[in-house]
């Protein structure tokens, strides 16, 4: 059976690869330093493949058919479509066996993910993934989530999804060491009059709860209230699902920086892998 040997959540502002030097130096060093630490953990644990969740940005789906959750099922996926992202375009390997198993297991557990072939992996994946493995050889199973188009699944529903996702990964027999990654958030506003704002108070509040592992106030928060922290902030659904997959264990907040030049609250939270958590 597979173990989830590493899990982390990280913001995925496009500017982090498109124009990283635009951020104040100390902020950039703190954020990228956290991603380097995560990269070291990936090497130490010998992760064989990752499963990554992020929000859909109308890259793969549109309003004529928008799933709440969709899983890429190919052997490889093309990314990124954004030519300005400063990440080389490449067919990124996946693990079709793991993807198929996750999909089947989720359905058996009562979830209803959409099946997707030909999925493209945009900045939501590639910014974070490129920092994890800039050779882009580490297999990645992509999962996109509807985080911006109401009616939206609630935080509680994404928590429940995360619990089933964790079980699905851990019941796979084709690999031994899998990583789980969430991309998106923290607070940001796009395409509306508050574009450029960052709700630092929300970001600290949210990260504090992940650090304790007590997600109760996050899970009973109505979607309308979450939207007060930004219309892009709903991408934190991926973070909540990841925390759920890791049993609501306390996360280590490796960094938080409100980078106004990137119009995004930037943070990284790392969780102990299964073997470490079991010993604790």
């Amino acid at each position: 059976m597979a173990e989830i040997v590493m899990a982390y959540a990280a913001a995925h502002a496009p500017m982090m690869t498109a124009d990283p030097g635009s951020a104040p130096r100390q902020q950039a060093e703190n954020f990228f330093g956290a991603l380097e630490k995560v990269r070291d953990v990936a090497k130490e644990t010998g992760v064989q493949a990752i499963v990554m969740m992020t929000g859909e940005h109308f890259t793969n789906f549109f309003l004529d058919g928008l799933p709440q959750i969709a899983i890429g099922l190919d052997d490889e996926h093309l990314g990124p479509p954004e030519v300005w992202l400063q990440v080389p375009k490449k067919m990124v390997p996946s693990n079709a066996g793991l993807a198929a198993h996750i999909t089947a297991s989720l359905i058996e557990q009562g979830q209803q993910p959409a099946l997707s072939y030909g999925m493209k992996i945009d900045h939501g994946f590639m910014t974070v993934y490129y920092w994890l493995d800039n050779s882009m050889e580490l297999p990645m199973v992509p999962i996109v989530l509807n985080c911006t188009t109401p009616p939206l699944m609630t935080m509680q529903q994404f928590y429940d999804f995360g619990v089933t996702l964790g079980k699905a990964i851990r019941s796979y027999t084709g690999l031994e060491r899998v990583g789980l990654v969430a991309g998106g958030g923290l607070s940001h506003f796009i395409g509306e009059p508050r574009v450029g704002d960052i709700d630092e108070e929300f970001d600290h509040w949210f990260l504090d709860r992940l650090a304790t592992g007590d997600l109760s106030e996050i899970l009973n928060m109505p979607n309308d209230e979450l939207a007060l922290a930004g219309n892009g902030t709903g991408e934190l659904r991926a973070w909540v699902a990841l925390a759920a997959a890791m049993g609501s264990a306390p996360g280590k907040v490796l960094s938080y920086e409100p980078v106004y030049e990137w119009i995004n609250g930037m943070g990284v939270v790392l969780y102990d892998g299964d073997n470490v958590a079991a010993k604790a």
């Binding site: 500017m15 940005h57 109308f58 549109f62 309003l63 004529d64 479509p81 954004e82 030519v83 911006t148 188009t149 796009i190 395409g191 509306e192 009059p193 508050r194 574009v195 450029g196 108070e201 929300f202 509040w205 949210f206 106030e217 928060m221 209230e225 007060l228 922290a229 219309n231 892009g232 030049e261 990137w262 119009i263």
Partner: protein
């Protein structure tokens, strides 16, 4: 005619731009979407504020603004909505 068709027009335009890559940027196509004259004006002029007030999805507005060359939050002045009352709701994380 419908908000969906305005959004479809924008979405298709962004896809054409993506397909064009570094080549010449195609102009936005409005034929075939059954848009009203005001909708055609808004997307071709373009009038970002009008597109916002129609209710277009913020991801599309953001993508459209980026395609027009706006960086970061530079398009914020175009989206001032004087008709909307400020939201005064206290969220649980606010002290």
């Amino acid at each position: 005619m419908s908000l969906y068709m305005v959004q479809r027009c924008l979405f298709d335009h962004l896809r054409r731009l993506e397909a064009a890559g570094d080549g010449p940027k195609p102009a936005i196509v409005t034929e075939g979407y059954n848009l009203t004259p005001e909708e055609v004006r808004a997307v071709t002029e373009p009038d970002i504020g009008a597109i916002y007030r129609m209710g277009a999805h913020p991801v599309l507005i953001n993508g459209f603004c980026r395609a027009l060359g706006y960086k970061r939050a530079d398009y914020r002045p175009l989206l001032v909505d004087t008709s909307a009352a400020p939201v005064k709701v206290k969220a649980r994380w606010q002290k």
